[in-house]
């Protein structure tokens, strides 16, 4: 029997039981929809993390205090205070593969100008912060080495701060704002960069000389971290080796002893995040996949009912010349069509939800094309896999007994 005839028969059978077919499709629709949404979220998050990190510069290297337990538990609070000004100076003096260096001390708090206030984060940095993070000062200027030496109370602000503190316009340059009650004179405004892929406002910050933040705000003698950039991306490994050598020397770490700082490149972080995201996506997809299994069992159930209900029809078809294979194919095609149609609707549904999340909620979600292809293949497999048993049952019926069935 040719395929078109089979298709006609299967279509008619589905149409005759449209509501029931739809109900058994529903499981597949939800299952495939869930898988597509999970994959879209996974892919979207990965892409946005990637965007964010590469916008920060892929040759960036971060030095943090404490041993190599990136993201893990840290033992001793004194370990957190190992990065000092001497380290920074040693790096600046001895660097070869390292291009720019900026120590970093951050503190969050309230910033006030006149009647307006906002809470934000102040970054104590060196002027090379701009080069490392690919930022530029749009108006005014960056603080100078002299400002750092004198711990001047000057700052460069992001556009969001300007918007919050000067809602009525007016030139912010030269104005004095108060951050945690300390007055700072604005000497520059950063060119706006907007939100990053994770939905973080990259213009909601205040840059100030690191010395000012350490002495006048925090009264601390250590840095939170030191950020550097390698000459270029391909020199990242050499730069890390160089930095390790410099810091081990200034920290007087004996051979064989462990570092009391950790150095990570942007690439490394990117890879770690990538594999973490892959893992999370995989778990979500597997969970959603289980609903497909349940949906498949639902289809099998409906097909078994259908085969029993249509025993007489099967007997009739056989008595006018349908072979077991014809009958088997008919029911297989029916279950494949239910699951593939359900899959198609599910893909549409998942895509719609992802699209809505992306445009309305600004949530990173991107349906990868391959996930659509995989969904279709999985639906065909479900249709064949769960339709096979009922179809075989139908095909093995005895025509005489089947046609007499009431």
């Amino acid at each position: 029997m040719n395929f078109i005839n089979l298709l006609k028969i299967a279509l008619k059978a589905i149409a005759n039981n449209a509501f029931r077919s739809f109900l058994s499709m529903l499981g597949i629709i939800i299952g495939v929809g869930a898988v597509i949404i999970m994959m879209a979220i996974g892919q979207g998050s990965k892409n946005s993390i990637k965007d964010q990190i590469s916008s920060m510069g892929s040759n960036m290297i971060m030095i943090r205090p404490g041993g190599n337990m990136f993201g893990g538990v840290r033992m001793d609070p004194s370990d957190m205070q190992t990065l000092k000004v001497e380290d920074y100076e040693a790096i600046v003096k001895n660097k070869y593969y390292v291009n720019y260096v900026s120590p970093e001390v951050t503190t969050s708090g309230q910033v006030i100008y006149g009647a307006n206030n906002a809470s934000t984060t102040m970054y104590g940095e060196s002027a090379e912060y701009l080069d490392i993070n690919s930022r530029v000062v749009a108006e005014g200027e960056m603080f100078s080495d002299d400002d750092i030496k004198k711990s001047s109370k000057v700052c460069v602000v992001g556009q969001t701060i300007v918007d919050n503190l000067f809602p009525n316009g007016g030139d912010p340059i030269g104005k004095t704002i108060r951050f945690k009650s300390i007055p700072f004179r604005i000497i520059g405004v950063l060119k706006a960069k907007g939100y990053n892929g994770m939905g973080m406002d990259q213009d909601d910050l205040i840059l100030a000389p690191y010395s000012t933040v350490m002495k006048r705000l925090q009264a601390q003698t250590y840095f939170g971290s030191i950020n550097c950039s390698a000459l270029s991306e391909e020199y990242t490994d050499q730069a890390i080796t160089e930095l390790t050598g410099i810091l081990r020397e200034t920290h007087k770490i004996k051979e064989g002893a462990e570092d009391n700082f950790s150095i990570h490149s942007q690439q490394e972080i990117m890879e770690t995040m990538d594999s973490t995201m892959n893992m999370v996506t995989l778990i979500l997809v597997v969970a959603a996949g289980f609903s497909l299994l349940v949906a498949g069992i639902g289809i099998m159930n409906i097909m078994l009912v259908s085969v029993t209900e249509r025993t007489k029809e099967i007997g009739l078809r056989m008595s006018v010349g349908a072979s077991g294979l014809d009958i088997c194919n008919q029911f297989l095609l029916e279950s494949i069509m239910i699951s593939v149609t359900g899959g198609a609707i599910g893909v549409g549904f998942g895509w719609l939800v992802s699209f809505a999340a992306n445009t309305l909620l600004n949530f990173p979600a991107e349906v990868p094309l391959w996930s659509v292809v995989v969904s279709f293949i999985v639906c065909v497999i479900i249709g064949v896999g769960f339709g096979y048993f009922p179809a075989r049952k139908a095909a093995r019926m005895d025509p005489i007994e089947a046609i007499r069935y009431e």
């Binding site: 029997m1 040719n2 078109i4 005839n5 028969i9 008619k12 005759n16 007489k312 029809e313 007997g315 009739l316 078809r317 056989m318 008595s319 006018v320 010349g321 349908a322 072979s323 077991g324 294979l325 014809d326 025509p399 005489i400 046609i403």
Partner: protein
């Protein structure tokens, strides 16, 4: 003998069919032998349980004998595989069932097309044409697109007959084709079978009704799985005449 010049369509040679029911064996057919020639209109009669349906299932290649040989159009059926028998049913046999057995929610013409769906030599167009021709032959040219639940019993039975004709079979088998119909409609169906007979078709017609035997060319009587009587009918009555002589329906 004159019979030797006619073509043999069916030949049964000592066909037996046993059914295992629990620990007991039911002998439904206890050795049946006969030949049916091209163009015969054979009625098969017998009491309930005498093996008529079992015999017809054998003839229709729906079942195989426990022992004995069955040749349909010269081909031995007993040794065939399921698949080959399906093909044989599709190409050489037209089966009419007692309770019509039409597909639900399906139009007359689609019901008639059904056997041809399983014959890849037919295109959709050829199928449609053949189905329309068969429906016209049974007098349902104006009921092509009616669904099975929109027709009377007699009409449904005629659709079933059209379906049995559509593949141009070498033999038409009918199991109590008039069993569910009133006298008048039964005669209408009988007229149809006589017309097919007149066109040269071979027909085997199982019935409970001894009257019907008078309208066929040969009558085989079964009892307890054996042939008790096998007589030719030299004086075939006309069903059309009988129908004309029936008292007219009251409310017409």
């Amino acid at each position: 003998m004159a019979e030797d010049t006619r073509k043999v369509i069916i030949e049964l040679d000592n066909v037996k069919r046993d059914f295992q029911v629990g620990s007991e064996v039911v002998h439904a057919l206890r050795g049946v032998s006969f030949k049916i020639y091209e163009g015969e209109f054979v009625t098969i009669m017998g009491t309930s349980g005498s093996g008529k349906s079992t015999l017809l299932n054998q003839l229709g290649c729906l079942d195989t004998p426990t022992s004995g040989e069955y040749y349909l159009d010269g081909i031995s059926v007993r040794t065939m595989q399921r698949r080959q028998r399906a093909r044989l049913r599709n190409r050489k046999i037209g089966f009419v069932f007692q309770n019509y057995n039409l597909l639900a929610k399906t139009t007359a013409v689609e019901n008639v097309e059904l056997p041809l769906m399983y014959n890849s030599e037919y295109t959709a167009k050829m199928r449609r044409e053949a189905a329309e021709k068969a429906l016209t032959a049974v007098g349902l040219a104006d009921r092509m697109e009616h669904k099975s639940n929109q027709m009377s019993g007699g009409q449904m039975q005629r659709v079933a007959i059209a379906r049995a004709l559509v593949n141009n079979p070498v033999i038409i088998l009918a199991d109590e084709a008039t069993g569910n119909l009133d006298t008048r409609t039964s005669f209408e169906v009988l007229v149809l079978f006589q017309k097919l007979h007149a066109e040269g078709r071979t027909i085997i017609f199982v019935t409970h009704n001894p009257e019907i035997a008078q309208y066929s060319s040969r009558n085989i009587v079964l009892r307890d799985g054996k042939i008790r009587e096998d007589v030719e009918n030299k004086n075939i009555l006309s069903a059309a005449e009988a129908l004309a002589n029936l008292p007219a329906p009251q409310d017409d």
